[in-house]
């Protein structure tokens, strides 16, 4: 008479189901998603604009058309001024901190949701996968928009500095000048910006999501933000 059926093992959900849930969540939380994504966009736009600006500067310097830029600045052997390096490093830091912060906030305010999902039978891995998908998508789209905005900014700045010469010597593709540093080219910079934005967003969200998923649901639901 006694019901003593052993407790079975929880099943893994098909990937499509995770994809569907994460996109649904992004869609309904659209306003909040946009703000988080904007954080990524800004970080990457800043980084890519500085970087592209630098690429343009170096390209025109190589072409011999460079006019006033860097005249009064200390220039390293590779032709990049210390100011440029400083700017790139700074923008990289701003980008890393900004993205990590917005993802961290976005996940922390959802601890309760994570706890609830676990109450309903979600596996830890499923919760982490949801956040990975959401943040990966946000990271990529935010970074792509940011990279394009950044490039546009750098081009406008370049037009101001170099006029239409910019387009003759535009460093679109990677190049290896005879006696200069390897130039990545704007396409590679945009690509790197996208990858960086996506990786930072994924790390920034999956780490707290993983921590929350590991907590017993009661504790996750108690967390106040």
């Amino acid at each position: 008479m006694q019901q003593r059926t052993p407790i079975e093992e929880q099943i893994d959900l098909p990937f499509v189901e995770s994809l569907r849930i994460s996109f649904q969540s992004l869609k309904i939380r659209f306003g909040r998603s946009i703000i988080t994504t904007a954080g990524i966009t800004l970080g990457i736009a800043f980084l890519v604009s500085v970087w592209t600006n630098n690429e343009i500067g170096v390209a025109l310097q190589e072409s011999g058309r460079q006019t006033t830029i860097n005249t009064f600045e200390e220039t390293t052997e590779q032709g990049i001024s210390t100011k440029d390096i400083w700017l790139i490093v700074m923008s990289l830091i701003v980008c890393v901190v900004g993205i990590a912060n917005s993802m961290l906030m976005a996940v922390t305010e959802r601890f309760r949701e994570i706890g609830t999902m676990k109450c309903l039978g979600a596996l830890d891995g499923f919760v982490v996968r949801l956040f990975l998908l959401e943040s990966g998508f946000q990271g990529f789209s935010g970074a792509l928009i940011g990279a394009l905005i950044g490039t546009l900014g750098a081009v406008l700045l370049g037009l101001k500095d170099y006029g239409l010469d910019l387009f003759f010597y535009f460093p679109l593709l990677p190049a290896q000048p005879e006696n200069g540093p390897m130039q990545l080219g704007v396409i590679i910079v945009i690509l790197l910006g996208c990858i960086l934005g996506m990786i930072l967003a994924v790390i920034g969200s999956s780490f707290p999501a993983w921590r929350a998923a590991k907590l017993p649901p009661a504790e996750a639901m108690r967390t106040e933000v």
Binding site: M1, Q2, Q3, R4, T5, P6, I7, E8, E9, Q10, I11, L13, E17, I21, Q24, S25, I28, R29, R112, E113, G115, T116, M117, K118, C119, L120, G121, A122, L123, D124, F126, P216, P217, A218, E219, M221
Partner: protein
């Protein structure tokens, strides 16, 4: 009848608060039979919600064992615990804990998604359950568009999605007015009598008394006393008029 569905053995739960250790449960021993309606009563801070969390595998005891259907919960793997939460138990919380991004229907289907039930089947079941709790016409509303009582109804429908044998309700009426609270209690009681679901409810709502088979009074992390329904008849008379 002696079919024990939940059994706790010297369950202790301690919380570390800075350098202090707070002993929320101080050795709880209870046995709950299948099909019972049990109320865990006690003032806030008595440990009833902590005990609720232990029984529902929502938290781990510091010491002691919890057995459900004869299985020692501490020996289950993560996957088994997830399956246990998914299939065996339905949770109802004071603050509803609905997912704000999913409609009433979406909230009810979620545990069925985790259980791997087909889309067609889970849609039918969600509609049936929401109809049962009286929300047939508000199925696709988001929780924010529903009243407190309606949200708690969604939570009840969600708790029943995978036909659990135990429903755990943590202060299900605390955020509701008297009449709505009464309706929610009646709904939970109906599940208990009609579907034979074991109901374990942490509460300090006196209205819960007259529907309970047994009342476990918890105080300072200990079972103070366990009363049977017939022992509380007189007290019920006093509170019966409250909702009128």
């Amino acid at each position: 009848m002696n079919d024990i569905v939940v059994k706790t053995e010297d369950v202790v739960k301690e919380y570390r608060m800075g350098s202090n250790i707070l002993r929320a449960l101080d050795g709880i021993n209870i046995e709950i039979e299948r099909g019972e309606y049990i109320s865990l009563m006690g003032p806030s801070g008595s440990g009833k919600s902590t005990l609720f969390n232990m029984i529902g595998a929502l938290d781990r005891p510091t010491e002691g064992q919890v057995y459900i259907d004869g299985q020692n919960m501490s020996q289950l793997s993560q996957r088994q615990i997830a399956a246990f939460r998914c299939h065996r138990v339905g949770y109802i919380f004071q603050s509803y804990n609905l997912l704000h991004v999913r409609s009433a229907h979406g909230n009810v289907t979620l545990p069925m998604i985790f259980a791997g039930i087909s889309e067609k089947e889970r849609n039918q079941k969600a509609e049936k359950l929401l109809d049962m709790v009286g929300l047939g016409d508000r199925m696709y509303h988001l929780p924010d568009e529903l009243s407190g009582g309606q949200r708690q109804r969604v939570a009840i429908a969600r708790a029943l999605a995978n036909d659990p044998s135990i429903v755990l309700a943590d202060e299900p009426t605390a955020n509701l007015d008297t009449i709505t609270g009464r309706e929610i209690i009646d709904l939970i009681k109906r599940l208990n009598t009609e579907q034979g679901v074991t109901v374990i409810s942490a509460t300090h709502d006196l209205k819960m008394l007259d529907v309970s088979d047994r009342i476990v009074d918890i105080r300072d992390g200990l079972v103070e006393r366990i009363r049977n329904r017939d022992e509380i008849e007189i007290e019920v008379g006093e509170v019966g008029g409250e909702g009128e």
